[in-house]
Symmetry: C2
Subunit: 459 residues, 2 copies
């Protein structure tokens, strides 16, 4: 059975796979039309084929791989989401796997195998030539998510005393230049990078010009042990196109290019968004059971938070029994605090990630968030005070909800900023953990302030 | 008064401005030590200087700009957040502004002036030479957030029949090559791009090789009217480094490079995160009053949502009066639903943005989210059922909360997926509007299911 299709992306110049094309491909798979399938898939970029495999159901996916085995491209494997990658590798014959992997650059192979199980990793490595295998194994020796893993080992370099002419002659004589390179890295006799020259400059200069006269200001060296998130930050912040990577002794061991940094930036953002929403590492292709398992811990934390809030409410059973309006209105105070807290914490978490919230301005940001909470608190206090009076005809009830609103929104601004900052200090990812803490604060403060004030002023 | 400093980023190889260096700079500003200030600021990248200006308070910022006028760099202006950029431009003398802007590339000037008021825009344009001014005005004629605005107008191109040697000779003779370029674009006699050659290939090939033999598979042409978000998607999806931009007649009018696409990707992500959290376009440097204003509409929407939920609760006043435990437990059901809904909607919103959720798999994703909601619902129903029984000693109350939990978590999965998809169909940004709708659903369903079941089963 195939799904009914709804066209989400109607934009003509968009890049999404059209639903119609997907339908055609599925029809070709169903009818076993190998030639039609190949003619539909071949013009597609491997990244689009990977998206296609992610979007269709298990049965047609297996059939498609069966039918298309011969043409299967290693880059499609690179582009697939991890969980699906393992499945697809299992479905490929050893021959198909070998031919698919052999065309890949060594850094793509690293990316491909690093999250595979031992057995599958071995199968892929076996498919490689001895040289490539060694390059992949060297890269895998660097820690996960380090610059060493991200870099490609092939570099294009020249001694610092060369001229443009010498460099061009050397490049022309070189058999095995990397697919993509944008700079020639200048090195000293001990292999330490001392600068780089863009290819554009090299091409635009006369042969006798020394390379040294052409080096770029933007030159930055990346330690191989640096976290890939820091690498992505540096590329984005300093507009780098490529950067040399060095080992602990400062010797050139590889180069990272902006496309890899862009992919990391994209992943880190995605991770932050999902973490802020309490969704672990989820993706659409995960099995129901895996998704359930990923989301469960977050919901469990929320349950504890919610029960804590209920314990606060339980302290006020007598008040609730006497004035049922309190039960009706109390979720409003908690909800407004929760929302204001989420606003503050999101700004704080992002500002920490982009290094805009630092030791130099943390107090100022806290003051600002509290001020914003206070002003919005007063505005909504007035609104809710009036609503309370009109709805329940009790001016004092209006005053109670208004005061509770101000208190909770100030608490929201404060907690929403301070909690992420403290978590960051404790080396806990603020995107991951802030939400639960901030909601606890706004729930507890909200219910306590509202019901507590009600007891004092209304009973 | 300067802020106390808390060191957030302790990582030695991180790129954040160190609090100590910020302190030193502030001290130099306070003591009016111009030489010390210049010696501290000069080694910094313009992006770091911009971050510094964003992090310090208004008074020292004004003093710093006063003291440093002579050395002020146009790139710092490019890197500043919009709201601060206007302030800083106002503080610069016309001379300082002119000398700062004159060094910039024309696409950076476009980026700088496009959000300025008319008067400031005029001031910047007046500072430019006639040629640059014209280039900037041509770029500004393209719509905001289009590829035309993003591109640089200077392209490096060659007729399709040229050889490597001819191309290198041409490049060497050319006076005014762009600062950054990575490809030579091949054009036909009508200026239509037909392919491109990487500089690496050009350098690595013999002089007599025709360019046509070296063109890359990855070649993609971008229409100048395309939305910049689509451009960033294409660069990320297809691993582009640069891409030619064409007008409606298919003629080459510019080129977009990956660093610009990376900046757009970064901005769009940021926007999505902030929108999901109900924070408009906020940044840390906004004034309190602006931030308050940005956040207010979202809180107002939430207030309406919360009042709606309260209206549901109000229907059950009698039940609440008779069983106060209902008031204690009801926020738990709503809160769990709200969290589960946020999980589903975040995954849906992101999947729509990355084009992973399309017409081909929307039904499957909905089924999956409902299934996840059901399973997690049952698990937490059992937990809460037991908690209910133990806490209030009423097995029937346990059953009520358990059933309500299952119902609300299934509703959360359904609403969290369907609402973003419908909003996208209606051309409303799902990141912007989904949250309010989904929370309304989970609040209303949660309170109604719990209190309604209580009336049926407990009274």
């Amino acid at each position: 059975m195939t799904d009914e299709t709804i066209e989400i992306e109607g934009d003509a110049d968009g890049y999404a796979l059209e639903a119609k094309k997907v339908q055609k491909i599925l029809t070709a798979v169903e009818t076993g039309d190998e030639r039609q399938l190949a003619s539909l898939l071949e013009p597609l970029h491997p990244a689009d084929v990977a998206d296609l495999l992610e979007q269709i159901e298990d049965r047609p996916r297996a059939d498609l791989l069966d039918l298309w085995k011969s043409g299967f491209d290693g880059e499609v494997l690179s582009e697939l989401e991890e969980n699906l990658r393992e499945e697809v590798i299992d479905q490929l014959t050893p021959d198909a796997l070998a031919s698919a992997v052999r065309d890949l650059e060594s850094d793509d192979v690293v990316d491909l195998v690093e999250d595979l199980g031992d057995e599958q990793q071995e199968a892929v490595l076996d498919a490689l030539g001895a040289m490539d295998r060694q390059a992949v194994e060297t890269a895998l020796a660097w820690p996960e998510e380090s610059a060493g893993r991200l870099m490609q080992a092939e570099t294009v370099r020249a001694p610092e005393h060369w001229t443009v002419g010498e460099t061009i002659d050397y490049l022309r004589g070189e058999e095995d230049l990397p697919d993509q390179f944008y700079h020639v890295i200048l090195i000293d006799p001990r292999m330490k990078p001392v600068g780089y020259v863009t290819l554009g400059r090299l091409l635009g200069s006369r042969r006798e010009v020394p390379l040294r006269d052409l080096i770029e200001d933007s030159f930055r060296i990346i330690p191989a042990m640096q976290d890939e998130g820091e690498v992505a930050y540096a590329f984005n912040q300093y507009h780098l196109i490529s950067a040399p990577v060095v080992d602990e002794d400062g010797r050139l061991v590889g180069v990272i290019t902006i496309d890899d940094a862009m992919a990391v930036l994209d992943e880190e953002h995605e991770e932050d968004i999902l973490r802020l929403a309490g969704v672990g590492e989820g993706s659409l292709t995960d099995r129901v059971i895996n998704t359930t398992r990923q989301r469960l811990p977050w919901l469990a934390v929320n349950l504890v938070t919610a029960i804590l809030a209920s314990l606060v409410i339980a302290q006020f059973e007598i008040a609730l029994q006497q004035i049922v309006a309190l039960a009706v209105l109390m979720p409003i105070v908690a909800s407004m605090g929760g929302n204001a807290g989420t606003q503050s914490l999101t700004v704080a978490v992002r500002s920490i990630a982009t290094k805009d919230l630092t030791g130099s301005n943390v107090w100022r940001v806290i003051r600002r968030e509290v001020a914003v909470g206070l002003i919005n608190g007063v505005i909504f206090a007035i609104v809710m005070g009036i609503v309370g009076v009109i709805w329940f005809g009790s001016p004092m009830l209006g005053i109670v909800i208004a005061l509770a609103m101000v208190i909770n929104m100030v608490a929201a601004g404060l907690a929403g900023t301070v909690i992420p900052v403290i978590l960051e200090k404790l080396k806990v990812d603020p995107a991951l953990a802030s939400g639960a803490f901030v909601t606890t604060v706004t729930d507890v403060v909200g219910f306590f302030a509202f019901l507590g004030l009600a007891v004092v002023l209304l009973l």
